[in-house]
């Protein structure tokens, strides 16, 4: 099988907060339509890695290419690139003063410059894909956490990004609401979206991920298909992390 094109290529990425080095030389390639899961203990740098991939955090060193464009080049239009990099946050971060539809269409209108009607149509379609077509005129506070996170996914998806980054998308949810978010992510994957997911949903990783990356102390310790990472982890640190998790 020929390898599909690389959508995200991270090389030699380093990031420090003050004297604390959070990312210590990360190399990671994500190919089109891949679902890559990043796991690791808290403080391992996985969220920071994800946030560097759309420059919410400014890396100190290295290279990040998204769809062939170097993100860290000062000449790169970061706002244009971010439209191609969807991001979903742990705390949803919906705009509380706007309706669900307005949340989804804001960037379509202001960043992509689409007209009101066109944005509305795209937004409605995105909401239908996350099964919330009937909530378009509700306000975020009227929705459950799971519904809010699905709106956040629709907001990112509506821009038709090349890749979507998920930063612990289910960590802030009550257990009974996790399923609806995961099933939307599963559908996205089915539709061929390229995704990088930082999460502790190991069951989801096991049956949906193409590849699992284990990070610890700012480095990628090992990576591979979920069967191998969960079934036969090579590295002692991976083994102890997964053992802690099972316990």
């Amino acid at each position: 099988m020929p390898e599909s094109a690389a959508i995200l290529e991270v090389t030699g990425l380093r990031k420090s907060f003050g004297t604390l080095e959070v990312l210590r030389g990360i190399d990671l390639t994500v190919r089109a339509q891949e679902l890559v899961f990043v796991i690791g203990p808290s403080g391992s740098g996985k969220s920071t890695l994800l946030r560097c991939c759309n420059r919410l955090e400014e890396p100190n060193e290295g290279s990040i290419r998204v769809d062939g464009v170097e993100l860290l080049d000062p000449k790169t239009d970061i706002n244009a690139m971010r439209q191609r990099i969807g991001m979903v946050f742990q705390s949803f971060n919906l705009y509380p003063h706007m309706t669900v539809l307005a949340n989804v269409t804001l960037a379509l209108r202001k960043a992509l410059g689409k007209g009101r009607e066109e944005a509305r149509a795209i937004g409605a379609a995105a909401l239908a894909r996350v099964d919330l077509a009937d909530k378009s005129s509700a306000y975020p506070a009227q929705l459950s956490g799971g519904q809010q996170q699905r709106v956040a996914i629709a907001r990112a998806m509506a821009l038709e990004p090349k890749i979507m980054l998920f930063d612990e998308p289910t960590s802030a949810l009550d257990p009974e609401l996790v399923g609806s978010v995961l099933s939307v992510m599963r559908e996205l994957r089915h539709d061929g979206m390229t995704m990088v997911v930082v999460s502790h949903e190991m069951r989801f990783a096991r049956d949906a991920a193409d590849r699992v990356v284990f990070m610890d102390a700012g480095q990628i310790v090992e990576q591979g298909p979920p069967d191998r990472i969960f079934g036969a982890p090579q590295h002692a640190r991976t083994q102890s992390f997964l053992a802690d998790f099972a316990a």
């Binding site: 244009a80 705009y95 003063h97 804001l106 202001k110 990112a156």
Partner: protein
């Protein structure tokens, strides 16, 4: 005359009311004019300064903070007197109305800037990040996501501060602006009776109680459910 009659004659003198009520009403119009002008420019300037400050350009922010601190520290009357009586000696002559409007606008702008700024700071970082992650620029994020939320949160403190500062239109009496207090004082000295002053007080109540009530209504109106 018994004491009740003396009291009524001093504060509720019918003849004085009939004679000077038109002046007081005229003063109300002037007060409303100054107040509206102050609210419009003061709040607009305050919002503009807070927006500029959020770009965090150091030298500019030092100037903004300096402006805000100085205007919050100075009694408005001092500024009014300096500008009204001082500026003519360097060839700038402003009307009493203009001086009152200018000074109160600047003072309101200083307080409003602080209030808006704390509103902006209170918006969670995730709101900025979510908006920026969809490709919105800093300015788009500020105008569409941050300020609408910040402004709503600032309605109660801003209303209180606005009322406090617009009441200072009474300082116009010192520099000959024919607003309520000026009219009342003039009438009081002509009539030798305190009734006009009481009329003036009533005029302030008539003007500002509705504003206080409106402020309370806005407070509940803008308290939307926060997740």
């Amino acid at each position: 005359m018994d004491s009740t009659t003396v009291f009524l004659d001093a504060f509720f003198n019918r003849a004085v009311i009939d004679k000077y009520l038109p002046d007081i009403l005229w003063g109300m119009i002037i007060t409303v004019e100054v107040a509206l002008a102050v609210v419009a420019t003061g709040i607009a300037l305050g919002l503009l300064l807070a927006a500029v400050r959020s770009f965090r350009v150091r030298p500019i922010n030092v100037l903004i903070v300096l402006f805000v601190d100085v205007l919050r520290a100075l009694p408005p009357l001092v500024l009014i007197l300096i500008i009204y009586f001082g500026l003519p000696s360097v060839g700038i002559r402003l009307s009493g109305f203009a001086v009152l409007w200018l000074v109160l606008s600047l003072v309101l702008a200083a307080f409003a800037e602080e209030i808006f700024w704390s509103g902006i700071l209170s918006i969670r970082k995730g709101q900025w990040e979510a908006a920026r992650s969809t490709g919105l620029t800093f300015l788009q994020t500020l105008t569409h996501v941050i300020l609408p939320q910040a402004v709503r949160m600032t309605v109660p403190p801003l209303t209180n501060r606005t009322i406090a500062i617009t009441k200072n239109t009474a300082l116009g009496a010192v520099i000959g602006v024919p607003e309520i207090l000026m009219q009342a004082q003039t009438a009081q000295s002509f009539s030798g009776n305190a009734t006009p002053l009481l009329l003036g007080a009533l005029a302030y109540i008539v003007l500002f109680v509705p504003v206080v009530v409106l402020g309370r209504w806005l407070e509940t109106r803008f308290a939307w459910g926060r997740a």
